[in-house]
Amino acid sequence: MIQFLYQDERVALDSAEADLTVLDWLRLHRHRPGTKEGCGSGDCGACTVVTVSVKQDDSGQPVLHHESINSCITFVGALHGKQLLSVESLAQGETLHPVQQAMVEEHGSQCGFCTPGFIMSMYALYQQDEPVNQLRVKIDQALGGNLCRCTGYRPIKAAASKALDYREAQVGSKDAQSGLSDSVNHSDALISRLQILSATVADANGFLQPKTLDTLSGLFKSNPQARLLGGGTDLALEVTQQMKTLTQIIHVSHVPEMRLIEVHADHLVLGAAVTLSECLTLMSDRLPAVRELLLRFGSDQVRNQATIGGNIGSASPIGDLPPLLMALDATLTLRCGDTSRTVPINDYFTGYRQTVLQEGEFVLQVTIPLPAHDSLIAVHKISKRTEDDISSVCMAIHLPQNNGVTQGARVAFGGMAAKPVRAVNTEQALEGSRFDQVTVHAAQAALATELHPIDDARASAGYRLQVAINLLQRVLLGAGK
């Protein structure tokens, strides 16, 4: 049975359709129409709600963690063991929450349709257990997944900033460091309620939530037509955009091995169900060059849901992580039944949305070697819009250095072929040379003939190739700084 809290109320669902979205549950089942559908594809943020779950802080203590998500592409089963908050949840009687108050005062709403989503994204930011000055620089990030067609955003940014002022002004009576009330993120009663709910069996009608790896792999092997669900940001589109009915879903995020995070001196091991938000936190320190890429991957709402395994599993030619993982020579651990095998990611993609995965097999973990400190790493994503857009071209380049010359060059692209690819001739041109203008010219010449990019609404093939070539120059210019 799926059990979660909506506000303070325990909700138990046993017979809901497996592919019922949180948005439809709120609007149609609970008659809470404050949360809006703007696109049904997770691209506009009008449906943003906040989930509260129990995580462990650095000292291992349980704390409440607030995340914004797109309710239109989240299945209700994924709420198991969490608390759901919608725009109706924030005001206390006649008293508005500070984010609501700030939006009114700064004139942040015009037509009002996107407003509930912005309010919830702002609320998620407001509730982060970080000092206010760190949150101020995250305003664009927190609101980058919410579209407004009326205001031009200036008053909305001002409202977010003002809401943080209000939080700061509460310091004294509240936690001195973060300004957040102790009772907000450390509410023992709520933590224990959620822990109890989490521990219950989460399976429901057509929506299975195994809690061990063996159960998961056994289920999928015997039932390979079932759909594996990580964050669902891609899978749910089949329901909301292609109008499919999914009757058998296996949610992988309750399996500890799928949620594994291991940090070693020279490599990371990440379970396939680790979210992109978690990747962002992990990699920002260890691979600063990829931070910008991850910040431009979807939006907070998407990153809070989408998983590293999903980005690899969907095998899209324009996924943003594969080029990076290919440049770093990552390896994948694949699991089928009770056997595992390891495949270099460079051998994993076989064609347009095709991979080496066998029937009943899935990505379990990703092992990412960390580059040497003197290696040159660069990642560039080109798209029409900076926030929440899909790449025209995504390039990841990794040039290990040995006495000033490159050894083991890796250049990988998304958007340049039917699948993520390495440009091996370009790598060859870089190999064994100093990374200078002469070498770059040779690499550009190689790249000009070896790839045949796709032509679509995002960009023409000619533009993609020209930009890919120019990006090599960009890397050289960056290396000089």
Binding site: H31, P33, F113, G152, I382, R385, S460, V467
Partner: protein
């Protein structure tokens, strides 16, 4: 002593009347209405080809699908089958001829939105396909039109061009734009006992929808009531294209005698409803050594899609605005309404005006390049004059033209000249990142160019407890019309805002309304509401004079009270009366109850029609506009010449809204209009495949501005001390559309940055939108010629 200060309500920065409901989620939109018993949901099955004939349509599987209750095709339509708003050409459902991909073939009503959408996928249609015309270039060369071409002319442009010291020709392609209102098209219909229907619709034009629902159902307009409380954005996209949902819901409601909801999915909305017109503009301009234009000829070709819709007026408005702020001594403007087998394009904020202004600013920039001058100098030298050089191509005199003042003040406040020099130096020492700057003005004509639309009505009730309701024909789509009208009524009656309830727009309260469009909402409806308030006020004054044996000059309505003093009230700042001397103060509950008991009517209508305007379209002569709205913007950008990516570093705007009724609402319109315009001209790109299928059919591929796209520094000011000379409501000026055109400063700045690649020796051929790909293409072209 009793004091009654004069309270200024019109002019105050009140919050949007629904702000609190917006932030709590309490504000109701059509799709948020109660799920009533038996409620049905509509989905539309549409054509998979762009041009041809429907040969057969097999709906057996659709009918058999779970949840499906009713299905309609053309044969089921009971009465009128065309919902063209001005001219026919928009069949509700296809009979045989198909003229765009996504054209409705049939409609399904099912027990849920999802089941209805699943059901339409099961239809099987067979077609006889014909070759479609899909783009504007093709349509211009084939000369296929939805309406006849039209020409505006003043003087003899041919002779002027032949004798001009300098002459150049240019061409500019401008893409269309998807409205992307966050709330898609939606309507709810409820059958009524008299065979009529009540329709709740997200709709800028309730009367037109009332009219068309009545026509399609074959009933009189008095049986149809259309209600609009608010829209989740409109921008012109719900002026005529909101009708189909309302009509389908009404038809099914009548057939099944249950309430029916019709909401388009985002993808259906993007495929099935019209957009801003793309344009192909050509110009041939002659000018003197100073850059002064001596003659000009334009061809402005709008891509209308498959039907006329509002395109006659839209291309006209492009023609009315291809002068922007500049005087053309001898001018000929040819406007073409091109037909393509794409969805019928429609109103979108600016209504053709922006595409005209784009042409004007391209002309100015190209002259500046030809003469090696700063474009600002060429703009200035060509501006309309106050006493001479002040006649537009359509023979209207330009009056109270504030653009010269706006440019001067903005040039100073934005430090334009120093930044221009700093940019020149930056570009000399940076090969990769190039900066550009541009200052552009806007002059936008205010009034519907179809004269009879310039009228409005209002209905004001005051109840016996002193509370009031105001109705008018305008609709709220986020622009703050309701709070402005509330402020206007409050000001006139001296009431507090809270006393006046803002009501949903309903065709049974105020009839024969015009669309809330053409930036006219406040000008028309605010004035009508003011008239209603004046009417009731006059009745109350007469009543009080009679009752208190006093004179009008001794009565003051202010601060939520009415005061009758013994002496005439001359002091405007404060009014004092001595209670002991027998002055009488009424609260509104006291006054309303007293007037009610003494049988004074506390309900009144108001009506307004714009004076002075007239236009002879045959001659292309007259005064189509009551006045002009003005503004100016200066924008600085940087482009990355390796990738074509653009950033807007800073924008400063100075805009003339006359005497503002609500400054924060006006600033909100200016900021929002600018960013929407910047999206249109940079990354909002519509793309179709060779079969006419829209590829950019959702927000994953069609990118409206996100939070990072607003200018890094964004300074917006209202022009001070500039009441409208025209007798508009409290001497304010319309603000909805004009600021969108301020974003042309972004496009001109990008052009400036690209031109720096060859030290401003070549005029960059840059089409809109200036996507990274388009910017890189233009850069590559410049670089190739430079090295050649």
């Amino acid at each position: 002593m009793t004091t009654l200060p004069l309270v200024k309500i019109a002019g105050a920065s009140n919050a949007h009347d629904s702000a609190r409901e917006h932030v709590t989620g309490a504000a109701r939109y059509v799709d948020d209405m109660e799920q009533t018993q038996g409620l049905l949901h509509v989905a539309i099955g549409s054509s998979a080809i762009a041009h041809g004939k429907l040969v057969s349509l097999d709906l057996d599987k659709v009918r058999a699908c779970a949840g499906v209750v009713d299905v309609m095709t053309f044969a089921d339509l009971p009465h009128t089958t065309d919902i063209g708003p001005v001219f026919p050409g928009d069949p509700l459902l296809v009979e045989s001829i198909i003229s765009h991909l996504g054209q409705p073939l049939f409609v399904v009503a099912a027990t849920s939105h999802r089941l209805a959408r699943q059901a339409v996928l099961l239809a099987h249609a067979e077609y006889e396909e014909e070759a479609p015309v899909l783009d504007i270039v093709d349509a211009v060369s084939k000369q296929v039109f939805v309406r006849p071409p039209h020409t505006m002319q003043r003087g003899d442009s041919k002779t002027a061009l032949d004798n001009a010291p300098h002459r150049l020709q240019g061409e500019l392609q401008i893409g269309g734009q998807e409205h992307f209102y966050l709330e898609g098209q939606v309507a709810r219909a409820r059958p009524e006992e008299d065979g009529g229907v009540t329709v709740w619709s997200s709709n800028q034009n309730p009367t037109e929808t009332q009219h068309l629902v009545a026509n399609v159902l074959g009933i009189a307009m008095h049986r149809v009531n259309v209600v609009v409380r608010r829209m989740g954005g409109g921008f012109g996209g719900k002026e005529t294209h909101a009708t189909a949902c309302a009509v389908f819901a009404s038809l099914f409601a009548g057939r099944n005698q249950v309430s029916v909801n019709c909401r388009l999915s985002r993808r259906d909305d993007m495929i099935m409803t019209g957009k801003r017109h793309g344009f192909l503009n050509r110009y041939d301009v002659g000018f003197d050594d100073e850059g002064r234009i001596v003659g000009i000829e334009y061809m402005l070709a709008g891509q209308c899609g498959h039907s006329p819709d509002l395109s006659d007026a839209i291309v006209d408005r492009a023609m009315f605005h291809c002068d922007n702020a500049y005087y053309f001594p001898d001018v000929t403007i040819d406007g073409l309404r091109c037909k393509t087998h794409t969805v019928s394009n429609t109103a979108f904020r600016g209504f053709g005006g922006p595409q005209g202004v784009m042409a004007a600013e391209a002309v100015i920039d190209e002259i500046a390049f030809a003469l090696g001058r700063d474009p600002l100098d060429i703009r200035r030298i060509n501006l309309y004059g106050n006493t001479e050089r002040n006649i537009t191509p359509y023979h209207q005199k330009v009056e109270t033209f504030t653009v010269p003042r706006l440019l001067n003040e903005l040039e100073q406040s934005s430090d334009y000249q120093a930044r221009r020099e700093a940019i020149r130096q930056h570009n000399q020492s940076n090969n990769i990142h190039k900066k550009g700057i541009a200052i552009t003005p806007v002059k936008f004509g205010i009034s519907f160019t179809v004269k009879h639309l310039n009228q409005a009505g209002a209905l004001l009730h005051i109840y016996s407890d002193g509370s009031a309701q105001i109705n008018h024909g305008g609709t709220e789509m986020g622009q703050g019309l309701m709070v402005k009208v509330q402020q206007i009524v409050a000001q006139e009656l001296g009431m507090s805002l809270e006393r006046i309830a803002v009501m949903a727009t309903r065709t049974d309260k105020v009839p024969n309304s015009s669309a809330t469009a053409a930036s006219s909402g406040t000008d028309l409806n605010g004035m009508a509401a003011l008239m209603a308030a004046k009417e009731i006020k006059q009745r109350l004054v007469a009543y009080l004079i009679d009752k208190h044996k006093t004179s009008e000059a001794c009565i003051r309505f202010s601060a939520d009270c009415v005061l009758i003093s013994h002496e005439e009230q001359v002091d405007d700042a404060n009014v004092c009366a001595d209670d002991n001397a027998g002055g009488t103060m009424y609260s509104w509950p006291e006054l309303a109850m007293s007037a009610y008991r003494d049988r004074v009517s506390l309900s009144a209508t108001g009506f307004y029609r714009t004076p002075q305007i007239h236009y002879d379209r045959e001659q292309a002569k007259g005064q189509p506009f009551y006045y002009f709205a003005n503004g100016a913007a200066v924008t600085e950008v940087t482009i990355d010449t390796l990738t074509g990516e653009t950033e807007i570093l800073r924008t400063d705007i100075l805009h003339d809204v006359g005497q503002s009724i609500n400054p924060v609402i006006d600033i909100g319109q200016i900021e929002g209009g600018f960013v929407q315009g910047a999206g249109w001209l940079t990354h909002e790109e519509l793309s179709w495949d060779a079969k006419g299928r829209l590829l950019t059919d959702g927000p994953a591929s069609y990118k409206i501005p996100a939070i990072g796209d607003m200018p890094h520094e964004f300074n917006v000011s209202l022009l001070a001390d500039s009441p409208n000379d025209a007798a508009t409501v409290f001497h304010s000026k319309a603000v909805g559309e004009p600021p969108l055109m301020l974003a042309i400063s972004v496009f001109a700045a990008i052009r400036d940055a690209i031109a720096s690649l060859d030290n401003h020796q070549q005029f960059p051929v840059l089409n809109a939108p200036a996507t990274p790909e388009e910017v890189l293409r233009a850069c590559t072209l410049i670089a190739a010629k430079r090295s050649a």
